[in-house]
Amino acid sequence: MTETVKKPKRGRKPEGASSSRQDVAVPALGPIGMLRWAWTQLTSMRTALLLLLLLAVAAVPGSLFPQRPANPAVVTQYLKDHADYGPWLDKLQLFDVYSSYWFSAIYLLLFISLIGCIIPRARAHWKALRTAPPRTPRRISRLPQYGTLVIPAAQGATASSALADAAAVLKGRRYRVDTRDTDGERPHLGAEVGYVREIGNLVFHTSLVGVLVSVAIGGLFGYSGQRTLVEGETFVNTLVGYDQFSPGTDFQSAWLSPYSVQLDKFDVRYDRESVKQFGQPIDFNASVTTKDSPDAPAQKQTLKVNDPLEIGGTGLYLVGNGYAPVITVRDGKGNVALQGPVPAIPTDAVYTSTMVIKVPDAQPDQLGFVGFFLPAAQLNDAGIAYSADPDPLKPQLNLNSYYGDLGLNSGSPQNVYNLDVKNLKQLNGRDLPAKGIVLDAGQTYKLPDGKGSITFDGLKRFIAIDIRHNPGQVPALIFALVAVGGLVISLYTGRRRAWVRTGTAEDGRVMVEYGLLARGEDHGLARETARIRKALQERWGLDGPAGGSTAGTPADNG
């Protein structure tokens, strides 16, 4: 917290009081004493500062190493590539930095330290709000801002009337004023303003705890999932509707609201103007039909990047897209074993996509295909096909084929985008006499040995959507906004104390001295002093230099 250490920690160290005690030489720290000591250490400003810096350092490895939550596949690959030290890094949780024990330890300690700082300070401030401004120092002239004014005897002012005037001026400037000794020879007052600075400070730090709690709530009660949706397909928000689903710790499937989203059409526009970014996408536009529930009326909506759909308490986000060639596979018996769009995973900017087609229903042998889909196929000098453009100018499939047991009946889960060819016999391929399969749109290829045929019927597009529900999101935003409000208040308001003392001279003039002191950083103190001086001068009809004999302003004695 800002400005803590400018003053000693309240109530922790009874300084002076213990020095006279006999047992002071034996610091018998029992277990409770130890705990107290540890607590004092933890909640000290220095520790908070070190924890903050440690947090910054600890966050860095998460950007150096691939992280499981964001990119599990990359982590697996990293472990494969660095078999020597990879596992050690894994043991140190360097692939799960932000959920690691050490990272959690740092931020939890930081927040405990924070709370341990907020509570006593809030209590102290609550007290300060209800007690009078501090007593007047004996020598106001020692304060960083100090000045004097003299009211001529002709005005007939007295020490106490001048003090009342000063009190009024300060009250007009929203100070809390406490006049003292009003009937004495040297009446004086203490005043304080800017209590809101500490309130802002406390609000800021409390809101940070609020943000952390909101994030935790999101982790507990939120959920997220993914789904690829080919044009014409419908996603229904039930567990089986997801390709991938990650529930929060406390998720219950009854929370899913049964809405549906059908992808009618997906349009992409590419940059045809600029040279360097030629073919770069400039617009993704998914036209969808949604229903809030099976019986609800259908609604036409559009889903775009940066423009998610809000439906059934979830957000739908467009996170990816690609081509889904429509394939028909006939088996050795001449029956249609597979018909429909098969999403191909794009691997680069021109949508060179990898394709895997599994045909478990083919008889007598199951069939499998692996290869590429190219939206704008061209041959390079070496005779190898590549895609020259992301638009489907000449869509083409380049496939190898296999037959045998795909292993889908074994019960172990398989990736649909990966074909394990270990137990399969190859039919087509670059090195085989039958060569690879090259299919343009509308073409059919007959597999060797009467195993069947494959037809490239047409082309559709698919989108990948993220479906997310995070109940911590709105509270986190509110806390963050409140935190900024508190931060701005605590940085830009000044907590100031002012004291005024008056006295009547023998010749009837009234002498006024005043001084100001800031708590914490305050560059505006001199300006404030000048304003108060000006207000007092106006009240008493005095004129003179605005700066006067204020200690902080330069006095050229050259």
Partner: protein
């Protein structure tokens, strides 16, 4: 989506080049000012040494700063020869003294900033959108803001002593943009087509510009505080030009004020980035590399603010934190954008 105007784009690049050239002349003028003033000061010192005992030093120094005030008492006055450590006004307000080269330098900076502004704005019109959609644009706009913020601060405070430094950084930014990050006028990818680009990135550029200023001041603060220490020990003054720079404490206080503004700006950068991330990627925080570094920068500057309130951490240590924070900003912009995989891969390279 409006079309691209390549002709205007090439004019923009011409403006950038012209601006870089003008900044370079301004840089030379600022350097000349430092050198010349330091020569003047040395002459005064020598005269003072000749007329020892007559307390001419202070008078001469005063003449130089006109009606300005003597430096704060803490600024380590008095080496063996009786020189003052600092002649600059600790309040950093203008004094009556005429510094012709500095005036020329400021005038050139204004001219350069005008040309530079024309470059930034024409780039925006050429692309039909805000001119901060890739690293080239971020850097050229950022450099422009550094110059503009510097000039705006000059309206209120005499920060001409930091001019050489600021000009050098602006030139480096412009050269880096044109050489390493050059990208022709182009459209934005869908991920960047959002009004949050206007909000999030503009605040990020502005905060970075402010951090650039405080970085310069923190470096000067370290130099000055070292020099003050040396002078207090009675050593020779090796950095005579630093007399034009206010004392370390004033530098620290003023850069703290700017840093608080920049910190609030960076907090907004972080928050608006989170809101945008939610819109674009479905989650407001996901420890993407760029998010990590934005967070690290925020924490470092939060540490800086706390350090200013921690006994034993003010002064030099706080200045180091400010410098480290700025190095993180630079790292976040250059290395993270180009070499770290993440969702923020919009360098356009």
């Amino acid at each position: 989506m409006p079309g691209l105007n390549f002709e205007l784009g090439s004019y923009s690049e011409l403006f950038m080049l012209l601006a870089a050239g003008t900044y370079t002349v301004a840089f030379i003028a600022f350097a000349w000012d430092l050198a010349k003033s330091s020569a003047t000061l040395r002459a005064i010192d020598e005269r003072a040494a000749r007329q020892q005992g007559k307390a001419t030093v202070t008078v001469a120094a005063k003449q130089l700063v006109g009606a300005g005030a003597p430096a704060a008492p803490s600024s380590g006055t008095g080496s063996a020869s009786g020189t003052t450590a600092v002649t600059a006004d600790s309040s950093m307000r203008y004094s009556g003294e005429r510094r012709a080269p500095a005036r020329v330098a400021v005038a050139l900076t204004i001219l350069a900033a005008l040309i530079h502004g024309a470059g930034v704005i024409s780039r925006g019109f050429a692309a039909g959108r805000v001119p901060w959609g890739n690293m080239y644009e971020f850097l050229t706009t950022g450099a422009w803001l550094v110059a503009v913020v510097f000039l705006l601060v000059l309206l209120r405070r005499d920060l001409r002593f930091v001019g050489t430094f600021v000009m050098a950084l602006v030139i480096i930014m412009l050269v880096a943009a044109s050489v390493a990050f050059w990208t022709p006028v182009g459209h934005l990818v869908p991920a960047l087509q959002s009004y949050w680009l206007v909000i999030h990135v503009s605040i990020a550029v502005l905060s970075s510009a402010l951090f650039t200023l405080t970085f310069s001041m923190s470096v000067l603060q370290l130099l000055q505080s070292r020099r003050e220490g040396q002078l207090a020990l009675g050593r020779d003054d090796k950095l005579m030009f630093m007399r034009l720079v206010p004392d370390a404490l004033s530098l620290e206080n003023f850069s703290y004020r700017i840093n608080t503004i920049a910190f609030v700006g960076w907090t907004f950068t972080l928050m608006f980035g989170a809101i945008w991330a939610e819109k674009a990627w479905g989650r407001f925080w996901g420890w993407d590399t760029k998010e990590v570094w934005t967070f690290v920068i925020w924490v470092v500057y939060a540490g800086y603010l706390h350090a200013r309130a921690t006994r034993g951490w003010t002064g030099t240590r706080a200045a180091w934190l400010s410098i480290v924070g700025y190095l993180c900003v630079v790292f976040n912009f250059t290395i993270v954008n180009q070499y770290f995989n993440g969702l923020h891969s919009y360098s356009g390279l």
